[in-house]
């Protein structure tokens, strides 16, 4: 490729869902601003092997850089290794432990984000009572890190709160979150708080809470998007959600890729020129921003996605 227009493929976990559509907005924005051939692809099914195959195809068609949001970071090590051998710049996201990457971009430290949600949950619960946690799947690393960070934060700061039950698995399905949360309520009738991880978790939990009229008796926080959890935020069934803006993350990844290709260096405390990434910290290959957003009833209208 010539020095100006580069082919940059952003490969996401799965195509078509809100989250990554929002990311695609950022990628497109970037393409428009810079005139680079930046585009986004993703597999039809949430399966690490499909994503690996897709990256394989991208390498074969000779892209200059890859921005990858790995479904399962470990599974992509070999294929990303091959990409780097082929001289392709690799930027990853949500994969702090990734070995074969030029830089990994994290919106934040996962444990901190989990603790941030816990802080809000604990405040809402008045620092005491039973709570339960949900993950999309036990095999999802980030979900587990958020929840682990949250539990650690609770144990360190709120001794009067108790975690009941296991990490409940919802398979990224609102219906599952709905039935699981019902069951949690039956098994632990005194429960006061729930924290979700998959974007559909709070939607399912919120539905249960609303159905039982427990909006005021319980506190529900979790990772989600306003477009998914909005209706429950309105009624108070869900008290707050946290997320980071995938559009900004997508744009940031592409920006980083170009920086690397142009031989620019990333340094601790650097400003990437994007909200939440004004002063990134560098830890080895991992670049951390402070890009989380907390949303509740009051500010949800500011985030139309």
């Amino acid at each position: 490729a010539d020095g100006h227009s580069k082919n940059i493929a952003t490969v996401v976990k799965i195509a078509g869902i809100q989250w990554f559509n929002r990311m695609e907005e950022g990628v497109k924005q970037f393409a428009e601003e810079t005139g680079m051939n930046a585009f986004q692809v993703g597999p039809a099914q949430a399966d690490p092997q499909q994503q690996a195959a897709l990256i394989e195809d991208m390498i074969a068609q000779g892209v200059d850089a890859l921005a990858v949001v790995p479904m399962s970071p470990e599974a992509l090590e070999p294929v990303l290794g091959r990409a780097m051998e082929a001289g392709i710049t690799v930027i990853t996201h949500e994969a702090a432990a990734q070995q074969n990457t030029t830089y990994d971009l994290e919106a934040f430290v996962n444990e901190d984000f989990g603790a941030n949600l816990m802080e809000q949950l604990a405040t809402c619960m008045g620092g005491e009572g039973e709570y339960a946690v949900f993950v999309g799947s036990l095999t999802s690393q980030t979900h587990n890190q958020w929840v682990d960070g949250a539990i650690a934060h609770q144990e360190a700061n709120y001794p009067n709160m108790t975690l009941v039950g296991d990490k409940n698995e919802t398979f990224d399905d609102a219906e599952q979150a709905y039935t699981k949360s019902q069951e949690v309520l039956r098994a632990f009738p005194n429960i006061k708080g729930m924290q979700g991880s998959a974007s559909t978790d709070v939607a399912g939990i919120g539905r249960t809470i609303e159905e039982r009229g427990m909006e005021d008796d319980t506190c529900v926080f979790g990772t989600s998007l306003p477009s998914i959890a909005g209706q429950y935020l309105e009624t108070g069934a869900v008290d707050g959600i946290g997320f980071w803006d995938p559009a900004v993350a997508g744009e940031a990844m592409n920006k980083l890729a170009v920086m690397v290709m142009n031989g620019e260096e990333v340094t601790d405390g650097m400003d990437l020129g994007l909200p939440g990434y004004e002063s990134v910290s560098l830890d080895g290959k991992v670049i951390y921003g402070q890009a989380w957003v907390n949303v509740n009833q009051d500010n949800m209208s500011e985030y139309p996605f």
């Binding site: 692809v41 399966d47 690490p48 499909q50 470990e74 070999p78 036990l138 095999t139």
Partner: protein
């Protein structure tokens, strides 16, 4: 037999149509994106990609030949890989000299194959001795195998292997990708088993008429056990390839391969009600799928559209294989009056 009638028979076979389809897709993709699709990069990359699910499709094939199905292939593959991975991470480390790690790798592979065999024995027993319908037996056992893999790992990935592990899935032998060699060996093996051994013939006969097989004094239970053990061991080999290519093992790898394996087997002409199936058909189906899939990726066609095209291809092939159009004309001719 004259070569003429031989040609006629060969071109009438469903496998011939698949060949035409495979060649057509290859040609189409080459035309649409000549510099990229025909690049050696891409051809090698495709050769690395398909063996994982192609081997699962072979496992599916032998189960379908008996009129059964094996929905546990992905579960078995992952459980085998997890067991192998745990052995590797427990007893070897990345810094180990190759000679030593090779021994551990051999042990891990043996263990994985044993897991596959045991899983196959369980499936076979459920079908043969307890009389469960295969679709339910393997649906249930698949959940159990996946469940064990989750329970053993807590759901997270097992990683940190010695470098030798990467050879299975990523190396080349005289320029040919190792996974492709493995697949070719297994395909030939299965072909020989099905057409050149007493066992294979019995499998086909049983698939064609189980009751007659009973009256022909075929030891059905033993045969079914073998079928599912073979399917299980093929699955573990697929699992090992996935493990090597992902440099890790996890309970949910390859979850989309299950339906894909069924789809490929059926597209390859295997009769899901038993009694007919040829490995060459399955191989052609695999190639068609891979050409299509990589080609569409190059053209940046949505991956959802790819699913649509797969489904349409499956039905199209069926319509061509059965004399469906004639049947349609017949059915409307009759009901028109």
């Amino acid at each position: 037999m004259s070569t003429n009638t031989f040609m006629k028979n060969a071109t009438a076979a469903p496998e011939f149509r698949l060949l035409v389809i495979a060649v057509f897709i290859f040609g189409l993709m080459s035309v649409l994106s000549p510099d990229r699709f025909l690049s050696s990069q891409n051809l090698t990359s495709m050769a690395f990609q398909f063996p994982e699910f192609a081997i699962l499709a072979l496992a599916m094939t032998i189960a379908m030949m008996t009129g059964g199905i094996d929905l546990s292939v992905v579960g078995v593959a992952n459980l085998s890989a997890v067991v192998a991975a745990l052995i590797l991470t427990q007893f070897s480390d990345t810094g180990m000299p190759a000679s030593q790690s090779a021994i551990w790798l051999a042990i891990a592979i043996t263990a994985a194959l044993c897991v596959g065999a045991i899983a196959g024995l369980i499936n076979g027993s459920l079908v043969a001795f307890f009389g469960l319908p295969p679709i339910l037996a393997t649906l249930g056992s698949g959940l159990v195998f996946t469940g064990f893999a989750i329970a053993m790992t807590g759901g997270s990935a097992v990683m940190g292997f010695p470098e030798t592990v990467a050879l299975i899935g990523n190396a080349k032998l005289v320029g040919i990708p190792v996974p492709l060699i493995l697949f070719a060996l297994l395909a030939v093996l299965l072909h020989l088993i099905l057409t050149r051994t007493a066992f294979g013939l019995r499998v086909t006969m049983y698939g064609a008429n189980p009751l007659a097989a009973l009256y022909a004094a075929i030891d059905i239970n033993r045969m079914l056990l073998k079928v599912y053990v073979i399917a299980g061991m093929f699955s573990s080999i697929a699992g090992l390839i996935v493990m090597s290519r992902a440099n890790s093992a996890k309970a949910d790898y390859g979850s989309s391969y299950l339906l894909l394996a069924v789809l490929i087997a059926v597209l390859g002409g295997v009769n899901p009600y038993g009694g007919y199936g040829r490995v060459i058909g399955v191989v052609l189906a695999v190639l068609s799928m891979q050409f299509l899939s990589s080609g569409l990726n190059m053209l940046q066609v949505s991956n959802f559209a790819r699913e649509l095209i797969w489904g349409a291809l499956l039905i199209l092939v069926m319509v061509m294989n059965t004399h469906a159009v004639a049947a349609l004309r017949g059915s409307f001719a009759k009901s028109s009056k």
